[in-house]
């Protein structure tokens, strides 16, 4: 089954907007994201799926979603 065009639109748009908001190319955003993850993982017990970065016009958020209650 072919991918609905809205799925492609949303993914393109999210990349574009992130790049626009922080004046950074999508490739560099990916590199930066990986590096920040590596730094965090030196000090925290963290899995890639627990980690997300989001960008607004004025702030960069690092989301740490690990549910520590499980431990």
């Amino acid at each position: 089954m072919s991918v609905r065009s809205v799925v492609i639109a949303k993914s393109r748009l999210k990349n574009l907007i992130t790049a626009d908001r922080i004046h950074c190319t999508p490739d560099n955003i990916q590199l930066m994201s990986t590096e920040i993850y590596q730094i965090l993982s030196k000090y925290l017990e963290i899995k890639p799926e627990d980690f997300k970065i989001s960008y607004t016009h004025t702030d960069i958020y690092i989301h740490y979603m690990n549910d520590r209650r499980k431990n």
Binding site: R4, V6, V7, A9, L13, K14, L16, I17, D20, H57
Partner: protein, 263 residues
């Protein structure tokens, strides 16, 4: 003291002028003294959408230059006694007016109107800076397309930089049939990405083209787009009107249950 709202979008052709015209008419019909200002120097359009193109004598640049008195340039609309238009110049280039001059003009006008709507030109250059200079808040118009939403996001950022943080969003030309089959972004998709308050959704409606051909408003006739504009006016006046969920094609029965729920 009136409220000054700039209608902006970044991308051209998404419905800023149509929105300005219809919100202006809607607010004036509610008894609010409303002025709409066309700030697109060199490409004047708001007068045409309002059907007032034959009444223009003086324009925005004449007022700023002092070639006429402010009152002489304001065009009243015989159909809507509370509505006034300050048209743009068709011949002058966009450097003919500065943001400082616009801010001064708008602050002079503010006391005499309940609402001032500024129709912003496309782009992020001086025309944009002029249009937002005197504004208290912004309405950002977009359509559910990648390019329009991307530009809207840029505009929201630029508005914030210029101290306008209470922007709200209109999603224009939404096609429910396309949203349903997964070929157009939904209202939720757009608001999730842009993360500003939604003030209205205008469905794609060929009645808009017909009304614009005639120089008539879409607001006030029984069309879907007209009703959507009416609801935005009510929200601007402080009423709580739920955003119409166009994704349900409703039968009479479910429409009636909705009505009962609202009461």
């Amino acid at each position: 003291m009136g409220e000054v709202i700039v209608i902006t979008s970044g991308k051209g052709g998404v419905g800023k002028t149509t929105t300005t015209a219809n919100l202006g008419i809607g607010l004036s019909k509610s008894g609010k003294k409303t002025l709409v200002i066309d700030t697109d120097l060199g490409l004047r359009n708001l007068d045409v959408v309002l059907g007032l193109e034959n009444r223009i004598v003086y324009n925005l640049v004449d007022v700023i230059n002092g070639s006429c008195r402010l009152k002489q340039a304001l065009i009243s609309d015989p159909r809507y006694p509370e509505l006034y238009l300050l048209p743009s110049a068709q011949t002058k280039d966009k450097s003919a007016v500065s943001p400082e001059q616009m801010r001064k003009l708008v602050s002079e006008l503010k006391d005499n109107f309940d609402f001032i709507l500024l129709d912003c030109p496309a782009g992020i250059e001086q025309g944009f800076q002029n249009a937002i200079a005197g504004a208290d808040k912004a309405i950002v118009v977009t359509t559910p397309e990648v390019s329009a939403i991307r530009d809207a996001d840029r505009i929201i950022g630029l508005l914030e930089v210029n101290g306008i943080r209470n922007s709200s969003l209109i999603i224009n030309r939404l096609r429910i049939d396309m949203v349903k089959r997964g070929d157009m972004m939904s209202v939720e998709d757009v608001t999730e990405i842009l993360a500003i308050d939604l003030i209205g959704v205008i469905p794609d409606d060929e009645q808009v083209v017909i009304a614009t051909n005639q120089g008539n408003p879409i607001i006030g006739n029984a069309s879907k787009a007209g009703t959507a504009y009416e609801n935005i006016c009510k929200r601007l006046l402080g009423e709580t009107v739920p955003i119409t969920d166009f994704s349900h094609t409703e039968g009479l029965f479910s429409k009636m249950t909705h009505l009962f729920k609202m009461n």
